[in-house]
């Protein structure tokens, strides 16, 4: 009987204690963040979408080789001797036309391994994290500054140059060549 009454008492009391707790929570501010309107501040070294600053890129292909999932695809064409491609911001001379610099961000695993080998620090991770797309093809980002036609043109230029050089080699005595004999690389 004593047990019975104490059961009733504890049942009632515990219900009221629980109700008190939930009542308190009714007035504590919500932890929900209204996402698109309010965003959480990201930490300083977040790793999100990759970005390549093509002004600084020398087309050395080191980032593509470092990538564990091969999401970076680079194609380069040698520049012709007369062309000046300018310098990178840390003083390196650019010698290659980067005709293709594609990053398939859908494959990217955000390991940041591509960032460290870069000699000019031109590839880095930004804090942009909203880049969903409806088509998978759109997740392949092309960073090259050359347009398609330009890239083809550069390729053809180089091929023509190579062909000329081969022809020069084949012909024993060329007349005065305009191009300097020293060939970069």
């Amino acid at each position: 009987m004593k047990q019975y009454i104490s059961n009733i008492y504890s049942a009632l009391i515990t219900v009221f204690i629980g109700m008190k707790i939930t009542f308190k929570h009714l007035f504590t501010p919500a932890v929900t963040i209204q996402y698109p309107d309010v965003r959480v501040a990201l930490p300083g070294r977040v790793r999100n979408r990759l970005y390549v600053n093509m002004d600084d890129c020398i087309g050395c292909d080191q980032c593509a080789r470092a990538c564990p999932v091969s999401c970076i695809a680079i194609e380069t064409v040698k520049s012709l001797p007369g062309e000046d491609l300018g310098k990178t911001s840390n003083g390196k001379k650019k010698a290659l036309w980067v005709t293709k610099f594609d990053i398939d961000i859908a494959k990217c695993c955000y390991c940041q391994l591509c960032v460290f080998p870069c000699p000019t620090e031109c590839i880095y991770m930004t804090d942009v994290y909203e880049f969903s797309e409806f088509e998978r093809e759109k997740l392949v980002y092309s960073f090259t500054t050359l347009s398609k036609n330009e890239a083809i043109e550069k390729k053809q230029n180089f091929e023509k140059f190579e062909a000329e050089k081969a022809a020069q080699k084949a012909a024993p005595k060329p007349p005065a060549p305009e191009t300097p004999s020293t060939n970069p690389q």
Binding site: V15, M19, I21, T22, H25, L26, A30, V31, T32, Q34
Partner: protein, 356 residues
């Protein structure tokens, strides 16, 4: 009452009866829309969330959007179900819960049917809900549905006993089963409410008050169990039974169940309020009487009625987000070992007191 007479003057007695029969649905549907929204908000804030925020200011259009979605949904009827019963069950459940509104006085100006056995009638039609739930569970041809329905029926049938005994206690004090008369007995003063012993006077009232409080708690718990709300929601226990007896339902039929559940929540809250907390009566007196505007009084009474009803619905929600679900054996223990003996003790004591 007054509304019925007014309508009878306007259209004649029979159309007036039909119109005043439809009036509660004009209350129940907007109420259900609000209550679903309210439940989501209350539950969210109790869990430190915000709840719906996007559709309209603080999400107030959320339920309307939900209803639109439910209307557009395909009405899926699985091949193995028993089609006639499957289609009939939601209607029966809603009819049962809506029929209870007929005998509830919304204000002194409106009661669906001023029948002499109002409370008994409500208990009788709530049996229809059980039949509908069993029908839904069986016709779905799904083990979860069947288990949910059987649990629900067992629970409702068991918890009906303490409810009826508490009601009996109450009516041994006031001597009427008519909810309208009961409400009128509790008029004019907060201490005339049944929870404070009703219109009994003298030392008996002081003895009655603790008994009435206990009876109030018992009937609140049992009505909670009768509408299958947490902590007594084992018929719909999501974690074990998917959704209980409405697992197989979708679209508008599911909406019917939903509407019936919320209508039922309000019906039992309103009954508890009518039985113990003065029904539609204001605790403070009426502004209409003070200003001498007679039509204002029923409006105020309607306000107090909905206020009390919604208050109890809110407490139901509050309990839902506070307490965990009881196990089946615990549920039966609570009913048969605690609530029924206690209600009998209260009934005996009160009867003794009234005879003295």
């Amino acid at each position: 009452m007054i509304i019925f007479e007014y309508l009878a003057d306007l259209f004649g007695a029979i159309p007036a009866a039909f119109i005043s029969g439809i009036l509660p649905i004009a209350f129940v549907v907007p109420y259900a829309l609000f209550a679903v929204y309210w439940e989501r908000k209350v539950s969210a804030h109790m869990q430190d969330r915000l709840g719906p925020m996007r559709t309209g200011w603080h999400g107030y259009l959320q339920t309307i959007a939900d209803i639109l979605k439910l209307i557009q949904k395909e009405d899926i009827v699985a091949t193995a179900v028993d089609k006639p019963l499957f289609n009939l069950a939601p209607i029966l459940v809603f009819a049962g819960s809506y029929a209870a509104f007929a005998a509830i006085p919304f204000s002194s100006a409106y009661i669906g049917a001023n029948v002499d056995l109002g409370m008994l009638y409500i208990i009788a039609v709530s049996g229809l809900v059980v039949a509908g739930i069993l029908m839904a569970g069986w016709a779905s041809n799904n083990k979860y549905s069947l288990i949910g329905a059987v649990r629900s029926a067992a629970q409702i049938v068991s918890y009906e006993i303490p409810t009826v005994i508490v009601i009996l206690t109450l009516f041994s004090i006031v001597g009427t089963l008519n909810l309208y008369e009961l409400s009128e007995i509790q008029s004019s003063n907060i201490f005339n409410w049944m929870i404070f012993g009703g219109n009994v006077i003298g030392w008996k009232k002081i003895v009655l008050i603790p008994l009435m409080f206990a009876a109030f708690i018992i009937i609140y718990l049992t009505t909670l169990a009768e509408v299958n709300r947490t902590p007594f929601d084992i018929p719909e226990a999501e974690s074990e039974l998917v959704a209980g007896y409405h697992t197989e339902y979708s679209g508008m039929k599911f909406a019917m169940f939903f509407l019936a559940e919320y209508a039922n929540m309000f019906a039992v809250s309103a009954i508890v309020a009518t039985l113990f907390l003065g029904g539609y009566h204001s605790p403070f007196g009426y502004l209409g009487n003070l200003l001498g505007i007679s039509w204002l009084v029923p409006v105020e009474q309607f306000f107090w009625f909905t206020f009390k009803g919604l208050g109890f619905v809110t407490v139901q929600m509050w309990l839902r987000w506070t307490l965990p679900r009881l196990r089946v054996d615990q549920l039966m223990t609570v009913c048969w070992k605690y609530l029924i003996p206690l209600s009998f003790v209260i009934f005996l004591l009160v009867s003794l007191l009234m005879v003295l």
